[in-house]
Amino acid sequence: MSDDIYREIILDHYRNPRNKGKLLDADVSIHDSNPLCGDEIDIHLKVDGEKIKDIKFEGRGCAISQASASMLTEMIMGKPLTSVKDLTKDDILENIGLLNLGPARIKCALLSLKVLKLGMVKYYADRDPDSAKKLQSDSTGM
């Protein structure tokens, strides 16, 4: 069971996170944490036209939360916002290859998605209030 979770790729992203750091000219920066575990994630986004031009994350916490964040940044770098907007929990769990997490650990895996959604809520707040509203409701209960 543990061997299925802590596969090479998860440990690799945990120990060598991709796109980790600050983004000084970010269009949106957002932070959230998981009070249960104390996992923390900050996401910084630079948007160019309708594409994610750059993304960086900062954070600390368990291997699942940090690897998931690292893998999320790789997944959406350069992607159009319209597709990123509709990312689901299952997309993330598939992306990190962890489909059988228990309810406590799923929160770790989804923290970065939640922060990303909250970031896009901020981005869309004035530009597209309807999308902002939908993203907000997506992010609750994550």
Binding site: D3, Y6, C37, G38, A63, R105
Partner: protein, 416 residues
């Protein structure tokens, strides 16, 4: 396997139905999260069952037979609690929901009456959030100050800091300190703290949530003014806390929660409050669980608290030795088992405590990971979280071995 030690653990384990259960696909449960809450012996479960089956009713108010039986049993627990910590009388024993509510009762009732602008309340860096937040609320409301006594790198309280503080002529209105840390296990020199505080006329609140369940505690010998603890950490049910307060202090305290049960007479615009301790117990209490708690106290008395402590010192010494041999482990808190309770906090390599707990769970081992409601202490230790194993009367050296084996397994999974 025969275990020669302070307790007949094999026999004790028979009394705890849950310890027979299997977890994580057939592994025996190794329950090492006792600092969070302990398991319950059958006697406690049966006492609660018996109350609901046979004499469920509200207490203190009715004259029918069920109410009388329930009232008698409820008040019996109060007597047992008073005896257990050697209070002078049952008037000094107040039932709350938990230790947290007990400390809040002190902050709201005694605190709001006595603490004024610019006063100082002294606590320490090892405190549980329940002994920090109520004082933050009170001091910010009153414009008073909060002062922390620090700890050294081995997890011992820097008593000298408090001595120096008092010697410098600075005043404190109240000291509130945990008798035993729920993270480091550190047992603080409580008698000295109380003695030097009383010399300056400062009353002392003792958070006994971790000490009362694990060692003999005598409030008269200690001479504390207030003490808070929770039934659920000492074989009892959840939903029952105890606040001990010296009678002469309690007599001057205004009520906490207003309503039924805490009154003698209510008129349109005024109320005469009930006698001690009922004045502080507004509303229908947790009758079933208070009654269940008596069975827990009986159980501990049968074993003897000195034996409980002896068993835990033995097990902690064994565990500290074993864990410290695992490569990559960092241990927090005193190394000498005489100075600490059976609570062991540690980290291992770069494995986050939550990942470690997941791996442990695969082996049937229940440990706690996180900040343990002690974020001030985590900041002092400069770690985001720790893993924690904590023992009680039913834990064995064989379980420690399973736990240490699982630690080695975690090193393998994480390739360290």
């Amino acid at each position: 396997m025969m275990q020669k030690g302070a307790l007949n653990v094999e026999k004790i384990r028979e009394d705890f139905p849950i310890l027979k259960r299997k977890v994580s696909g057939g592994k025996p449960l190794v329950y090492l999260d006792n600092a969070a809450t302990t398991q319950k012996p059958l006697a406690v479960i049966n006492a609660i069952h018996d109350y609901y089956m046979n004499y469920n009713s509200n207490i203190h108010r009715a004259v029918h037979q069920l109410a009388e039986e329930a009232t008698i049993e409820f008040e019996k627990t109060r007597e047992k609690v008073a005896e257990f910590i050697n209070a002078r009388s049952t008037e000094e024993i107040i039932f709350t929901r938990n230790a947290t509510e007990a400390i809040n009762l002190v902050a709201y009732s005694w605190g709001r009456t006595n603490v004024k602008k610019e006063d100082t309340i002294v606590i320490t860096e090892i405190e549980h959030h329940s002994n920090i937040v109520p004082w933050q609320i009170l001091t910010s409301e009153k414009g008073a100050k909060l002062k922390y006594v620090g700890i050294d790198d081995n997890g011992y309280l820097k008593l000298q800091e408090y001595v120096d503080y008092l010697d410098s002529g600075k005043k404190a209105k109240l000291v509130s300190v945990s008798h035993m840390s729920n993270v480091l296990g550190t047992i603080v020199p409580i008698n000295e703290i109380i003695k030097m505080s009383h010399e300056k006329g400062i009353p002392v609140v003792v958070d006994g949530a971790q000490s009362v369940p694990h060692m003999p505690v005598d409030v008269q010998k200690m001479d504390c003014d207030f003490m808070a603890f929770s039934a659920h950490k000492m074989l009892g049910p959840t939903g029952v806390g105890i606040l001990y307060v010296k009678k002469e202090i309690l007599e001057k305290m205004p009520p906490f929660i207003g309503g039924g049960d805490m009154i003698k007479e209510v008129h349109k615009y005024e109320t005469r409050y009930n006698d001690l301790p009922y004045k502080f117990e507004g509303g229908t209490p947790n009758i079933a669980d208070v009654i269940g708690f008596a069975a827990a106290i009986d159980y501990l008395n049968n074993i003897g608290m000195d034996k409980v402590r002896e068993h835990e010192v033995e097990l902690t010494t064994y565990a500290l030795d074993k864990i410290s041999r695992v490569r990559g482990v960092t241990l927090y808190g005193p190394r000498n088992s005489k100075d600490r309770g059976g609570v062991i906090s540690f980290n291992i390599g770069d494995i986050h405590p939550h990942d470690l707990a997941t791996i442990m769970n695969d082996h049937g081992v229940a440990i706690r990971s996180g900040h343990h409601c002690a974020q001030v202490l985590m900041e002092r230790l400069d770690v985001p979280a720790t893993s924690r194993a904590s023992f009680y009367i039913y834990n064995t050296k064989e379980e420690v071995d399973i736990f240490v084996g699982a630690l080695e397994e975690a090193r393998r999974v994480f390739k360290i």
